[in-house]
């Protein structure tokens, strides 16, 4: 820390020596210079792919075109197909439902755990935090492998435990129906995402001064009132963004569903992510996959625009 300070002082001395006019211009330029690296990075990585995707969505671009055949311009035909295809709407509906259920569960449980961390003594807090960290730290591929095994119809621990508790879950095939697959996916997604929410909210809570927290917990207000009137407003910025992120991530959930499907794929179990992948990479219809991606982007924006604008308004 000390060395950092002295470095800073050096810079500050240099800055102070600069003439006032130059400094004012620098201030005006400063924000642009500050965001420049991030923008360059985003353009580098996303610019071309996004542009290509928009272009491809107006073409007929299949495997043949990927191997060099000139693509045909088809206008809005791909989008028309999307709008008129009941499969697509089924996928969209399921994805929205899955997203809402998962986002709500994740945020509610995450906030509850953050508050719990605040309410227990240090030792127990540490235990809880380590447990959450361990779950959070599990690489997705590893975590999915474990969960798929836990839910295995024949040798899964979950069936074994439920059966020995007196419920007949012997040889129950969790992944045999789309609902079952979504249930397992929800368990896994919530399990994986809650730590992030809990720690973010908890980090937000630590910025609330201890005096306020203590005062809040000692006066006569009920816990719930305390929560809504004092805590929520203070963690509101974190809560808003965390909720938005859960919605974004749960809407485009991919790896979890794909790995469950690799294990067993019930009928009509695709969500947007896996469906786009199936269209594009597995079936080689890149133009439809692109069009559907753009469609999903627009759909997400439409659904979240009010929320995002509110977020941005509060921000400035």
């Amino acid at each position: 820390m000390a060395s950092a300070h002295s470095d800073v002082t050096t810079i500050h001395v240099g800055g102070a020596a600069a003439p006032p006019v130059a400094r004012r211009r620098k201030v005006r330029l400063a924000p642009y210079l500050l965001i420049l690296p991030a923008i360059i990075m985003l353009l580098l990585a996303m610019g071309y792919p996004l542009g290509w995707q928009i272009w491809a969505s107006f073409m007929k671009f299949g495997l043949k075109q990927q191997f060099g055949a000139p693509p045909d311009f088809v206008g809005l035909a791909n989008y028309v197909t999307i709008f008129t295809d009941s499969t697509v709407w089924g996928v969209v509906g399921r994805s929205l439902l899955f997203c809402i259920v998962n986002a709500v569960l994740t945020v509610v449980i995450g906030v509850a755990l953050a508050l719990l961390m605040n309410a227990v003594n240090k030792a127990i807090r540490l235990i809880l935090q380590i447990a959450l960290l361990l779950a959070w730290a599990m690489p997705v591929v590893a975590a999915m492998t474990v969960w798929i095994w836990l839910f295995d119809w024949r040798r899964g621990v979950i069936n074994y435990v439920l059966t020995s508790m007196g419920f007949n879950f012997s040889n129950y095939v969790w992944l045999g129906t789309a609902m079952g697959l979504y249930f397992v996916a929800t368990v896994v997604v919530v399990w994986m995402s809650v730590p992030f929410v809990a720690f973010s909210i908890y980090a937000g809570l630590t910025q609330v001064s201890e005096e306020v927290m203590e005062a809040a917990s000692l006066d006569g207000a009920t816990s719930f009132k305390r929560f809504t009137s004092i805590i929520v407003p203070m963690i509101r910025p974190v809560l808003m963004i965390v909720a938005l992120l859960q919605i974004i991530w749960d809407l485009r959930v991919f790896t979890q569903i794909r790995m469950l499907q690799d294990s067993q794929m019930p009928l009509d179990s695709d969500l947007l992510g896996t469906y786009i992948y199936r269209l594009g990479v597995s079936s080689g219809d890149f133009s439809m996959a692109s069009a559907l991606s753009i469609f999903v982007l627009i759909l997400t924006i439409v659904f979240s625009i009010a929320y995002v604008l509110q977020l941005v308004k509060e921000d400035s």
Partner: protein, 463 residues
């Protein structure tokens, strides 16, 4: 896709030792290897990359290829292993890209038509005869052929046959393997009903609902097919064909009456269900026996690719103390699924093709590698490792044990999926899994067939 041959690779070391094949020195080229070596000696040394898929190709064979390539071409051969799950993704991305394409690649036989039709592979018709010509497994040659030109050729083949529990069959009163398809269908239903060991959710014949790769045999055996090519070159899905319907109905009957497999199950590791006791005895930390677990046996019959036999048998320790399965002829048996015409039923052959990427800058080197792969020596090595060699002259190298016999017998009448340009699309869309699951769920076969004909026909033709 062709399924999984990986087990062979895992079992290969022990197989070599057991069969005494280890004595063959793969490094000593016989007079016939490598074919055409003289002509290619003049070519420039090129460093090339060969993608193999899965761990199917054993290490010894890979080393052999690398060494031979060095000798013949002078360049370096790099062999990279890809996985079956992701190979289509990777080929799609890399093959059009001259800078990054593999020069030679293995490809699942059912994936081959799609890629050959769009020009991903180089035309190797001129070396077709040199590489084996009419001796090559023709059904595999066909999926690598477009308008009479050869693009990919058979690398190795596997075939599917039945593994069954002799003891359970006998206890249920069925003493001999069935002679006809009808006999088989009846036998497994009887065994399921009798369930001689009183096992919960017992299957006389365990076949997953989405397992179309095995299930298709009933369609083939009844003279049906998945698709036909018309004289105009267009493909039509033929699920509604009377013979196809008949086969699908037989399969549905089996699914409902003989198989307790989940209707969402695919063809993944069915051997788990006909093995006995995963674990006999559980001991506590003091070494006292606390309980004996029930056996895991849940099926009397399964259908699986030949290499499954490495995973079937009694559980024993090998010399290194590892748990391995040891085949027990008292308990386990094999037979090729019989047809109703005295011949084995046509089953879906597994395996893969191999070809040269059209975008490769190293066509000469790639051709050298192809010559090595199709040399007598390498073809024999494939056979010795339990992989059916693409050149039928060397099938005898598979040996003459029970498994080789069943493999050769079932392969004698094996079929492939249609060589339609859109076949990979059909597989990628998972529509067949859907159809077969709906049939296994007890859906109306005729209506489903009509529904999926309408879905599949456009897919078959689009590239």
């Amino acid at each position: 896709m062709k399924g999984k041959i990986a087990a062979v690779a895992l079992g290969v070391a022990s197989a070599l030792a057991l069969a005494g094949c280890g004595g063959t020195t793969p490094n000593a080229p016989s007079s016939s290897t490598p074919a055409g070596g003289a002509s290619s000696a003049a070519s420039v040394a090129q460093d090339i990359t060969f993608w193999v898929v899965g761990s199917d190709t054993p290490t010894k064979l890979r080393e052999y290829l690398v060494e031979q390539y060095k000798q013949v071409n002078g360049g370096t051969l790099t062999i990279e292993e890809q996985t079956w799950t992701d190979i289509v993704t990777k080929l799609t991305a890399a093959m059009p890209d001259a800078a990054n394409t593999p020069d030679v690649t293995e490809i699942g036989n059912t994936q081959s038509p799609t890629f050959t039709n769009i020009g991903a592979f180089s035309d190797i018709s001129d070396m077709y005869d040199e590489l084996g010509g009419s001796k090559l497994l023709q059904s595999f040659v066909e999926v690598g052929e477009v308008e009479g030109k050869n693009y990919t050729l058979p690398y190795y083949f596997g075939s599917r046959y039945m593994f069954y529990r002799k003891d359970v069959w006998a206890a249920a009163g069925v003493t001999a393997p069935p002679a006809t398809l009808d006999d088989f269908n009846k036998a497994v239903v009887t065994i399921t009903e009798k369930n001689p060991n009183g096992i919960a959710d017992f299957s006389g014949f365990f076949i997953g609902g989405q397992d179309w790769r095995n299930g298709i045999s009933w369609v083939f055996a009844n003279g049906g097919d998945l698709a036909k090519q018309g004289s105009d070159g267009k493909w039509t899905s033929t699920l509604s064909d009377a013979n196809t319907i008949k086969g699908l109905k037989q399969l549905q009957e089996l699914q409902l009456k003989a198989s307790m497999a989940p209707t969402t199950a695919k063809d993944q590791s069915p051997w788990l269900y006909i093995n006995d006791t995963d674990s006999d005895i559980v001991k506590d930390d003091a070494g006292n026996v606390t309980e004996t677990t029930p056996t895991s046996l849940a099926a009397a019959t399964i259908m699986a690719p030949g290499w499954a036999h490495w995973s079937i048998g009694d559980l024993v320790k090998d010399t290194a103390g590892k748990d391995v399965r040891e085949w027990n002829t008292e308990k386990f048996g094999t037979f090729a699924l019989p047809g109703n015409d005295g011949k084995p039923a046509p089953v879906f052959a597994g395996g893969s093709n191999v070809g040269i990427s059209a975008a490769s800058k190293n066509q000469e080197g790639s051709r050298d590698l192809m010559k090595i792969i199709f040399s007598a020596e390498y073809q024999k090595m494939l056979g010795q490792n339990g992989l059916g060699p693409g050149n039928q002259d060397y099938v005898s190298s598979l040996g003459d044990d029970e498994f080789a016999t069943a493999l050769i017998e079932s392969a004698s009448n094996s079929k492939l999926t249609p060589a339609a340009p859109g076949w990979a699309t059909v597989e990628g869309s998972a529509k067949l899994e859907e159809l077969f699951q709906k049939i296994a769920d007890g859906g109306d076969v005729t209506a489903l067939a009509a529904e999926y004909d309408a879905i599949l026909t456009p897919m078959l033709n689009g590239a």
